[in-house]
Each structure stands twice: as C-alpha cells, then as structure tokens.
C-alpha cells in the first residue's frame, strides 16, 4: 500500500467511526441488558409461570384456547397464536382489527388448564420493552430502524477500514504490544489489540444487526410476493363464514411436515394468512432448523392442506441473522461471553473516540512543529 492509500483508508476509518460511534454506544449499552432479557423479564414477573399440572396432562384444544382469549378482549381480534418456546402455554396476539399489523395486547393462556395467566402489552416487561424499542428503532418506528440499518453499514465500513490500517500500523510492532510510555500510546495499542481481536465478532453482529433492521421490509415483501402467490387460487373466494377448527388446521399442517413444531399460527384474515387460510408456520427442532420457518397454508373453509413453500433466501437470511445478533442460541455461558464481547466493544469505541479527541486537541501544537511528534519512530498510526 502506498502512503497515499493508507491515508485514504485512515480517513475512511475516522469518518465512518465518527458517524456511528454515538449510536453504537447506545446500541452496546442497550444491547447489554437485552442479552439477558429472558432472565430479567422472569425476575420482574413479566413471564407467566404455567399452572402446576401433571407433566403428561393433555393440552386442551386450540379452539378452546382461542375462545378463552376472545372472551378476554371481545371487541378486538386475535391475529396470531404462538406457543411458548419452553412452557405448555399459548400467547395470543390481539389487534384492534384482524387485518391490523399492530399488537394491542398479548393474552397468555395455559395450554392444559385453559387459565388466563397474563394479559400484557407485549410478551416482555415494560422496562425490557422500552430498551428493545430504543435498541431497534430509537423509539422512531420504521424510520428509526432503517436509520440504524445505515448506521450498521457505517459500522461495517469502519471495521473493515480499521482492519486495513491495522496492517501498516503494525509493521514494527509485535502482535498484542501494549506500550505505556504515554496515555495516548496505551489507549492506541489497546484500541488496536481489542479492535483486531474482536473484528470478526463485531462484523457478524454488525451485519446481522443491519439485516434485522430490514425485518419489516422483508415481511412485507414476503406477503406481497410469496404469500400472494400461494393463496392466489382463492383470491376471489369469499372468506369462509364459519372457519374450520384451528386445532385441526394445526394438526393437518404438522402431519404434512413430520418432525417439525409449531412456531406460530396466523388467523384467517390476518396479514400473514389471507382471508381464506390459516397460516401455520412451523420450525424444526435442531438448533439450526429451529431458526428456519416453513409456512403451510391451511384452507380455513375445510381445514385441508392448500400450499406450502420454503422461505426465500432473504427471509432465511433474516431468521439466521437473529440468533447471530442476539447470542441467545448457546445457553447462559454464551450469553455471558456475548456480554463480555459487548463490553470490550465499548472499550474499542471509547478508546477510538478518546484517540480522535486527543488528536483534535493536539493538532495545533503539532503544526507548530513539536519535536516529539516529528521523531515518532513507527510508521503510520491511526486514527
């Protein structure tokens, strides 16, 4: 690399970093508690514990669960029925109208006793809900989400350019060198060491985070293309007056895909099902296949199988991105490691900002030709 290209890369690193640093501080700080959202929600009592029933107590019919849920909110509509990951419990998502994308409430019902365990704004506690909203969209809904997606791309460029300038910087230094001669050198070396060591992890979390910001776009595109094509033959058919049993629809879907489990069920008329179908979304039961959703359309007139189609690549990319961003796929030790990696990322951000500020402050004296700067022994430094 010529000195000129090094200088260009250093500028790229400096400016992309400056643009995203403030937001990355927010994302790292809000992301930290979100790694442990399940534990925090449980501690705050936001997770409803199922009734004590015999381990082999049978599940009551999903139709009965929907009735119980409807009785709770008679003037609103149930859009989704979602089985809990861990407990024999159904979460019913309630919206102002069946074709609304909003979630007005979540009613949690024990799948064996039929008792309403909890009615809340979401499945999360208010604190975690707030932190989640701040982290995903800065409380600005979709605009905020897309903005953070752009910040994510900026972060990715900052990491790549940081790795590029790491090369010339380390020409005369051993890997892991941390000099203590001055405070600036110390933080510079720490920035380089922690930055290069975490580069791969930060890249993965940055890229998957940016993909996650496209979640709504991806969902809408899937609805407009794949879903519309799957249910096209029923496009002009009137919605069935008496929809078939949801329990039967679920069983038909499960029978068509052995070894899979229910991820969620979209009710007829909702945005993920269309007017004439149940949208039964299944997932596998290994760590990888559990992230991949298989949509199965069940005719709501008679409960028969209509159509099923593997998710397109962009939707798969979204579902694979989620665990890789959240770090929630390898037990508690992985969450702790994720949190520590997040903390070291904060060191990278903080030291980078410090180095920029010091440079800014020192710049006038350097122009006046201070000897110590002129005699600095090693090749280009950054930022």
């Amino acid at each position: 690399m010529t000195p000129r290209t090094v200088r260009v890369w250093k500028h790229v690193h400096k400016w992309t970093s400056l643009v995203c640093t403030l937001f990355l501080f927010i994302l790292c700080l809000t992301g930290l508690p979100l790694i442990f959202h399940e534990e925090i929600d449980r501690a705050l009592g936001a997770t409803a514990a199922p009734d004590r029933a015999a381990a082999d107590a049978p599940m009551i019919s999903l139709d009965r669960v929907l009735e119980i849920g409807h009785a709770q909110r008679p003037n609103e509509a149930i859009t989704f029925a979602v089985p809990d990951d861990d407990d024999p419990v159904w979460h019913l998502f309630i919206a102002p109208a069946i074709n609304s994308p909003k979630v007005a409430a979540v009613v949690t019902i024990d799948g064996r006793t039929g008792r309403v365990l909890r009615v809340g704004d979401s499945t999360r506690s208010p604190v975690i809900k707030f932190i989640t909203d701040l982290h995903t969209d800065l409380l600005l809904d979709e605009k905020g989400m897309l903005f953070l997606g752009a910040i994510g791309l900026c972060f990715v460029i900052a990491i790549v350019s940081g790795v590029v300038v790491y090369g010339p910087f380390m020409r005369r230094l051993d890997f892991g060198t941390v000099r203590e001669r001055t405070r600036r050198l110390y933080w510079l070396d720490l920035h380089n060491l922690s930055g290069i060591v975490l580069a791969a992890w930060m890249l993965v979390v940055g890229v998957t985070g940016a993909i996650n910001t496209l979640a709504q776009q991806i969902a809408r595109h899937w609805q407009r293309t794949e879903l519309v094509e799957m249910i096209a033959p029923w496009r002009n058919a009137p919605a069935p007056a008496n929809p078939a049993s949801a329990q039967r629809a679920m069983e038909t879907a499960l029978a068509s895909a052995p070894g899979m489990k229910v991820s969620s069920i979209a009710m007829p008329g909702s945005l993920f099902a269309g007017g004439h179908h149940y949208g039964v979304f299944l997932h596998g039961d290994t760590p990888l296949t559990s992230k991949l959703i298989m949509p199965i359309m069940i005719n709501a007139a008679d409960g028969s199988f209509s159509e099923s189609r593997e998710l397109p690549w962009y939707a798969k990319a979204l579902f694979i991105s989620k665990p890789l961003h959240f770090g929630d796929y390898g037990g508690m030790p992985l969450k702790v490691i994720w949190a520590l990696l997040d903390l070291v990322t904060l060191i990278v951000l903080g030291s980078g900002l410090y180095l920029w500020a010091v440079r800014l402050y020192a710049a006038p004296s350097r122009r006046s030709g201070t000897v110590t700067h002129a005699l600095r022994p090693q090749a280009p430094e950054h930022p």
Binding site: R171, G330, P333
Partner: protein
Amino acid sequence: MINARRSLAQIFLLPAIIALVVVFGLVAALLGDGIWDMSSWLALAFPLALVGFFLCKRAR
C-alpha cells in the same frame, strides 16, 4: 519490541487465525447442542482471553 519490518502475511496471520476461531465458535452453537455449545464457548472466549493476556503481560 520495535524491530524489523514485518510482511503483511506476518502481521495478519494471528488476526486471521483468531477470526477463523471466532467464526467457528459462532457457527458451532448453531449446529448443535452439548459439545457444539461447549466448543462455541471456548472459541468465543478465545479473543477475550487474548485481550486479558496481553493486558496482564504488559503489567509485569
């Protein structure tokens, strides 16, 4: 500490190995439970251990 110039290959050998270990760790926990999860913990703890090691080494 400060000595001969290194080639880019020398400079990026260790970072490349670390990146491979990290990617392995990220993928391992996706592929399975049990031994896969454990190897993922070890692999992802590796970069943390390196930062800790070089900070302690400096202190001596």
